[in-house]
């Protein structure tokens, strides 16, 4: 099967680099899946789960937004933050959700609402991701 080259990078590090058979990502206009020989594509990403498979073995990475470029079977994901499944701590995610919720509930006038909501959304996705992974085991 024709392989594509996938690179997931964040400003801090490279999360994944290697050959894959398919990639499915949370695009701005909805979930999209990229297979080999896909047309050149550039999309913004929304917080969500990115899945990709190699030889029937699926991995997933949580991204909190960013960009994806598909060009001649080279896929580059510039993620704001990307965490692999095994890196997410469910307890910490739960705490983050609570903290973000609290900040919104008790917000002062100087609070940047948009930012607070975005961080809540990110925390919730992370928590859901962690919980689902646990239930799969």
């Amino acid at each position: 099967m024709a392989r594509m080259n996938l690179n997931i990078v964040t400003a801090e590090r490279e999360t994944f680099s290697g050959g894959v058979d398919y990639v499915s990502a949370p695009g701005a206009d909805g979930e999209l899946t990229v297979l080999p020989s896909h047309a050149a594509l550039m999309t913004t990403l929304v917080p969500g789960e990115m899945r990709f498979g190699t030889d029937g073995d699926e991995q997933s990475v949580l991204v909190t937004g960013g960009f994806m470029e598909v060009l001649a079977d080279n896929i580059t994901v510039l993620a704001d933050a990307a965490e692999r499944e095994d890196e997410i701590d469910e307890d910490r995610a739960a705490v983050a959700v609570m903290r973000a919720q609290e900040r919104i509930d008790t917000h002062g006038s100087d609070l940047d609402m948009e930012r607070a909501l975005a961080s809540l959304r990110r925390a919730q996705i992370r928590l859901r991701f962690a919980q689902r992974r646990r239930s799969q085991r």
Partner: protein, 292 residues
């Protein structure tokens, strides 16, 4: 001829200095390792970001789309200089080399220049040379991208509001432990000429791009991110450079101190030997006098 006591005092003082410099060397070495690791980890993102943006710009230029304000060129009437330097010295020639590039930029600029200082050495230089310092930021060790957003949004705001028409970024690029190169990089307006090695793919490849949600929206998202990435990466490079330069400088200082201690010890032994010989002569002479 210095006395034995003088030499002993000097040896003690030099070995105290050697202890301090070797401690600083060890600290710098551990920070250096972390900082170098961070730079290496961050490079793929910075490189990919540059590449993706250049693809995007090439395509938008081919289509005559309206470019984001961050890509628009205006007549240059005021420049913003972001100067990234260490907070402290004792880093060999590093600070001097960065400031030389900054001085060159200030000399060559044909328009008034506002300066943003990141790091005290640079701020002091700006004050000393009577330039205008419009903002000053400090970044701790091991910064995350989030820690540098204040800086990049300040720069973006100044550019978008038309306060400044170009932004330059001066920092020390980390090449390896013993080489750090000061660079002067144009941050804004974003340079639209691609120098990517894969530009031979031909323009045809870029014409069939699909954009979601739309080219303009993608660009509006990615252009500020590009500035943030460059600023963040410059700071990582600067920190790796600083700790590397300091590590080497302290290593040299420790080596010099040890060499000095060896020389002084030799002097000390010589002086002690001379004193003993002198005393022996005195005794032998005294004995001869008594016997004779």
């Amino acid at each position: 001829m210095p006395s034995l006591k003088d030499i002993r005092d000097r040896i003690r003082s030099v070995s105290n200095t050697a202890k301090i410099t070797s401690a600083m060397q060890l600290i710098a070495a551990s920070r250096m390792q972390r900082a170098q690791q961070m730079v290496r980890n961050g490079r793929p993102y910075a490189d990919q970001m540059r590449e993706v943006l250049s693809h995007l710009v090439m395509r938008l230029e081919a289509e005559d789309e309206t470019l984001d304000p961050l890509l628009q060129r205006r007549p240059n009437q005021r420049e913003l200089l972001v100067l990234v330097t260490p907070d402290r010295g004792l880093a060999g020639a590093l600070v001097g080399n960065i400031l030389r590039v900054a001085a060159q930029e200030l000399r060559d600029a044909e328009v008034p220049v506002d300066t943003v200082g990141i790091g005290r050495k640079g701020e002091r230089f700006v004050a000393r040379t009577g330039q205008s310092l419009v903002a000053s930021f400090s970044v701790g060790d091991r910064p995350s991208l989030g820690d540098t957003l204040d800086i990049s949004s300040f720069v973006i705001d100044r550019y978008r509001s038309g306060d400044v028409d170009s932004v330059k970024l001066i920092y020390a690029q980390f090449v390896n432990t013993s080489v750090q190169r000061p660079v002067n990089l144009q941050l804004l307006p974003i340079a639209t000429t691609s120098s990517g090695s894969d530009s031979d793919d031909g323009p045809a490849l870029y014409l069939d791009y699909i954009y979601e949600p739309s080219p303009a929206e993608v660009l509006a998202n990615i252009a500020p991110r590009y500035v943030e990435t460059l600023v963040y990466h410059a700071i990582l490079e600067a920190q790796a450079s600083e700790h590397s330069a300091r590590m080497i400088a302290m290593q040299n200082a420790t080596d010099n101190a040890n060499e000095l201690i060896e020389d002084l010890t030799l002097d000390l032994n010589k002086a002690r030997q001379e004193a003993i010989t002198g005393e022996l002569l005195d005794i032998v002479g005294g004995v001869a006098g008594v016997q004779g």
